[in-house]
């Protein structure tokens, strides 16, 4: 059998795939991951959740399985009725405001009646933009009336403050979060592995240099470091978050990979590779790396999970995604205020999606590690 198929060799990945397929948990995790990937692709290409920003429900519309709120009907009718915002009963200046308003109404009535200087306000100054303002004031009220008539009282998993569909928002938010988590984890693992490999393999001065660098880097408080990177990059956006997290997150991977390389470079198989004339780079990345790749893989899965969470903190600090972009982090940030009002659905949707993804990702990397190890059958 082997003799006949000697030209095609079942590589490491073919064997790994065979072993993965035998692992039921890994396959389930892979299915979940593929589902997320499909969702990500659909949302990025605009097939899915492109209209998440449409305000299709009433604000804080509850999930359908709970049923509409009692005051929902009242609220939908309300907004277009008056131009004047409703009075805040807690405002200490409410009496003053009421007086002022009454005065202004009286003045405008008087002005309209007088007719001589139509564009004069209470201070007696004519407003040159009177007409334009009147037009603008007229527009939103008309538009609002138009949309309000279609707003739904319940949505499948509820709505947020602005009436965005939470499911669509979660899908769109996944786009940012997954990309940030995975790409930043890749960047951090790449840097950590590269530095760790160089430091551990060459030792001596190289090792000293990277260790000094590491020590200085880790002695800076984490948040300060993030602020520093953010200040240097000077702009908000997904790329910035990825760079911030990637450039600050490599330290843990560095220590572990360095230790592994120090251990492995003394091994006889590496000496043997040197004896047959293998170059340093070849020994580092063709011989040693596959044997320590499990460390990098596991670290990457841990980092990805951590980075998805870090994005929340960054968003909270104002270094997160820009306004108008949604992510699980910004959803969780909003959920803080909503939870006091008893609106739990946005929090549940974001954390649920995050938990499922993170669990599946961890289980899968774990299984991948085992599958890639030829010693474990």
């Amino acid at each position: 059998m082997f003799a006949s198929s000697s030209h095609l060799s079942p590589g490491l990945w073919t064997l790994a795939w065979r072993r993965l397929r035998a692992d039921r948990v890994a396959m389930a995790a892979l299915a979940v991951l593929l589902l997320f990937a499909a969702m990500l692709a659909a949302s990025m290409s605009g097939w899915l959740a492109n209209d998440w920003a449409d305000e299709i429900g009433v604000h804080y519309a509850p999930p359908s399985f709970i049923g509409a709120q009692a005051d929902a009907a009242h609220r939908t009718a309300e907004p277009a009725a008056t131009e004047v915002p409703p009075e805040n009963p807690l405002d200490p200046l409410k009496d003053v405001i009421r007086e002022l308003r009454a005065e202004m109404d009286g003045a405008s009535v008087a002005a309209a009646a007088g007719g001589e200087a139509g564009a004069e306000d209470s201070y007696g100054i004519a407003d040159p933009l009177e007409k334009e303002l009147a037009e603008i004031r007229g527009m939103p009220s008309g538009a609002a009336t138009h949309v309000t008539s279609e707003k739904k009282t319940t949505l499948p998993f509820g709505a947020d403050k602005w009436g965005h569909d939470v499911i669509k928002k979660t899908i769109k938010g996944a786009e940012t979060s997954i990309v940030v988590g995975l790409v930043a984890a890749l960047v951090a693992t790449f840097l950590g592995t590269l530095f760790g490999a160089l430091a551990g393999y060459f030792g001596g001065r190289t090792d000293d240099f990277f260790n000094w660098f590491y020590s200085i880097f880790t002695s800076i408080p984490y948040l300060l470091l993030i602020l520093a990177v953010a200040a240097v990059l000077q702009q908000k956006g997904v790329t910035t978050i990825i760079l911030i997290l990637g450039l600050t997150g490599w330290t843990g991977v560095f220590r572990l990979v360095r230790a592994e390389y120090m251990k492995h470079k003394e091994r006889e198989y590496v000496l043997a590779a040197g004896a047959i004339g293998g170059s340093h780079l070849g020994r580092m990345f063709i011989h040693i790396f596959p044997n320590i790749s499990h460390v990098a893989l596991v670290q990457m899965s841990i980092l990805a999970v951590g980075f998805i969470k870090s994005e929340v903190i960054l968003s909270f600090l104002g270094f997160g995604v820009p306004v108008g972009v949604v992510s699980w982090g910004s959803m969780l940030n909003e959920a803080q205020n909503e939870l006091i009002l008893g609106k739990w659905w946005q929090l549940t949707a974001a954390t649920g999606a995050m938990a499922v993804l993170v669990t599946a990702f961890s289980l899968f990397t774990d299984a991948l590690r085992d599958a890639l190890d030829p010693k474990l059958k």
């Binding site: 059998m1 000697s6 006889e268 198989y269 590779a273 004896a275 047959i276 004339g277 010693k375």
Partner: protein, 567 residues
């Protein structure tokens, strides 16, 4: 030590042990083994790796992992008239350490490195004898003195890493005999030690056995080792007892072909057969077919032009000391030798003698501190590394541990193709594949090995893979660094025969590094004895073994196990 004494201390009857590998597969490690250990006697359990000897001993101690080791309920282990298998675990634990104790192979990993040796021995006394701290300390000093540790009152407060390997093993023995056990199980207690130390430990065990009138179950892979100390020998293979009997009878009239194979596969000290007999010949019942060819003659011929001339090779390692100071450790001091084409230079020495460093320095896996090495008249140590790259293929090395020297992530095919790719041997991968199969056939590997990973092979086969990897480069000098030391006796013979054939066919020159004096005598034309980095003696192998000049060489030769034979 009368064997007629029917009173047996330990009786093992029909012991069967299975290991659960995964959900479906089980592996039967011990298949119905029965043996006795009489009172006040030494019994040797001999077998190669996988024979089930250690597993049987662990079963007696009750140390097998509960999760995956299954001892058949019908198996009986009775100690001092009490059945161990049915005993409550608390009672059994109390028995272990007091009446039954065990010494393991690796003294360094059996001792806790963060506790002093005194504390560790004292712990046994406090636990089993209920001694107070003071009494335990006094007894510990006595014990250390008894096992032959100099200045026991000072050494009691040493940490394990401050003691040599031999002393560590003595500490282990002191711990094992602390409660005056009735049975001492010694699992390969000398395998990790140098020959001279091995001899001392064996003598110590013998003396202790007689003084304390205890029984010793001595487990080893080396049949020759037990000739001098055991009263009874049990030979095991693949979980079955092949032969058991009086030591004299087993050595002088071995009944089972496997026992004969174990005895004859070792290179003899008084002859040099053309090929060593291998285990398959013996099992088939062929009467030593390998001796048909004439004996080999060894030795350098004077007018030969040397292929490799090494002059004053030295290598130092530096460690930092204090703030700016450096401490120099001279691993190799002024070593000079020559190696003609098609000949073998044996380097013999104990651990720390610098023999391995010589090999690694010649291949420039370490940079030499001083000296020259002329290969075909060119100094390979003075070359730039670019220039040396072409010479790399001419000098190759086979390492000691076949489990560590092959990259576990590469298939055998990848392992063999890589050196050819690096050195542009063969026009394309097709041609290289063909070369691979050629070399695999030459070293006796099956064709299907090409796609397999190293862990799927036994130790001997892995060493063949390592040899094939070197051969793909057509080397002229092959450094064999303890290349057969990690292998079982029967496999050792096969690999030695292979190396011998390759030398005959391709005119390879070997630098054969080993601590095993009988193997070096068999393989080498000239032998160099090293100690503490320096050469103490160098002579043609027959001369050296017949007439050693240096006292150290004489000590080494006297320590070869089984040299005196059965008296």
């Amino acid at each position: 030590m009368s064997l007629e004494d029917s009173d047996n201390l330990l009786e093992v009857r029909d012991l069967r042990i299975r290991f659960r590998l995964d959900k479906k597969n089980e592996f039967e490690a011990v298949k119905g083994v029965s043996f006795d250990v009489p009172r006040n006697a030494t019994v040797a359990l001999v077998g190669e790796s996988g024979s089930g000897k250690s597993v049987s001993a662990l079963a007696v101690m009750g140390l097998l992992p509960v999760e995956n080791a299954l001892i058949e309920p019908a198996s009986k282990i009775s100690f001092d008239g009490r059945e161990l298998q049915t005993m409550p675990s608390g009672q059994r634990r109390a028995l272990c350490g007091r009446d039954l104790s065990m010494i393991f192979q690796e003294p360094m990993s059996s001792l806790n490195p963060v506790l002093t040796v005194g504390y560790q021995i004292g712990e046994v006394l406090r636990l089993h004898k209920g001694m107070g701290a003071k009494a335990a300390r006094a007894r510990t000093v006595e014990l250390l003195d008894e096992v032959g540790i100099p200045e026991p009152a000072a050494r009691i407060d040493y940490y394990p890493n401050q003691l040599s390997g031999g002393q560590q093993q003595r500490v282990m023995i002191a711990m094992a005999i602390a409660c005056e056990p009735k049975l001492l199980i010694a699992d390969e207690p000398t395998t990790a030690l140098d020959v001279t130390i091995q001899k001392q430990i064996i003598e110590l065990l013998k003396a202790l056995q007689q003084r304390h009138r205890m029984s010793v179950l001595f487990i080893t892979h080396d049949l020759a080792l037990v000739a001098e100390m055991a009263d009874r020998v049990i030979v095991m293979r693949n979980g079955e007892v092949q032969e058991q009997g009086d030591t004299r009878q087993v050595f002088l009239q071995p009944q089972h072909p496997y026992t004969r194979a174990l005895l004859e596969c070792r290179p003899p000290l008084d002859a040099r057969p053309h090929h060593l007999p291998v285990i398959d010949d013996m099992m088939r019942g062929d009467e030593s077919p390998a001796i048909v060819l004439a004996e080999r003659t060894r030795g350098y011929v004077e007018d030969e032009r040397p292929l490799l001339v090494v002059k004053n090779l030295s290598k130092s390692f530096y460690s930092r000391e204090g703030l700016f100071g450096q401490k120099e450790f001279k691993a190799v001091k002024d070593v000079s030798f020559t190696l003609p084409r098609g000949k073998t230079l044996g380097i013999v020495g104990e651990s720390g003698s610098g023999k391995t460093t010589v090999g690694l320095t010649l291949l420039r896996l370490h940079e030499a501190t001083g000296g020259q090495a002329f290969f075909r008249g060119k100094d390979i140590l003075a070359m730039s590394s670019r220039e040396f790259h072409d010479y790399k293929r001419r000098l190759q090395i086979v390492f000691q541990n076949p489990f560590a020297s092959l990259n576990p992530r590469f298939t055998v095919g990848q392992i063999l193709l890589e050196p050819m790719r690096i050195h542009n041997i063969g026009a394309d991968d097709r041609e290289r594949n063909a070369l691979c199969f050629k070399w695999m056939e030459r070293v006796g590997l099956p064709v299907e090995a090409f796609h397999r990973y190293p862990h799927e092979f036994s130790g001997g086969q892995r060493q063949r893979i390592a040899i094939a990897r070197c051969l793909t480069l057509h080397p002229e000098v092959l450094v064999c660094d303890e290349s057969v030391s990690a292998l079982d006796v029967s496999v050792q013979a096969q690999v030695l025969n292979l190396l011998q054939d390759l030398q005959d066919d391709f005119g390879l020159s070997y630098i054969f590094i080993s601590h095993d004096l009988s193997v070096v005598r068999y393989m080498a034309d000239r032998v160099m004895v090293m100690r503490d980095g320096a050469v103490v003696e160098m002579a043609d192998s027959d001369d050296l073994y017949r007439n050693p000049q240096h006292p150290y060489t004489q000590t080494l030769l006297a320590a070869i196990p089984g040299r005196q034979g059965v008296s």
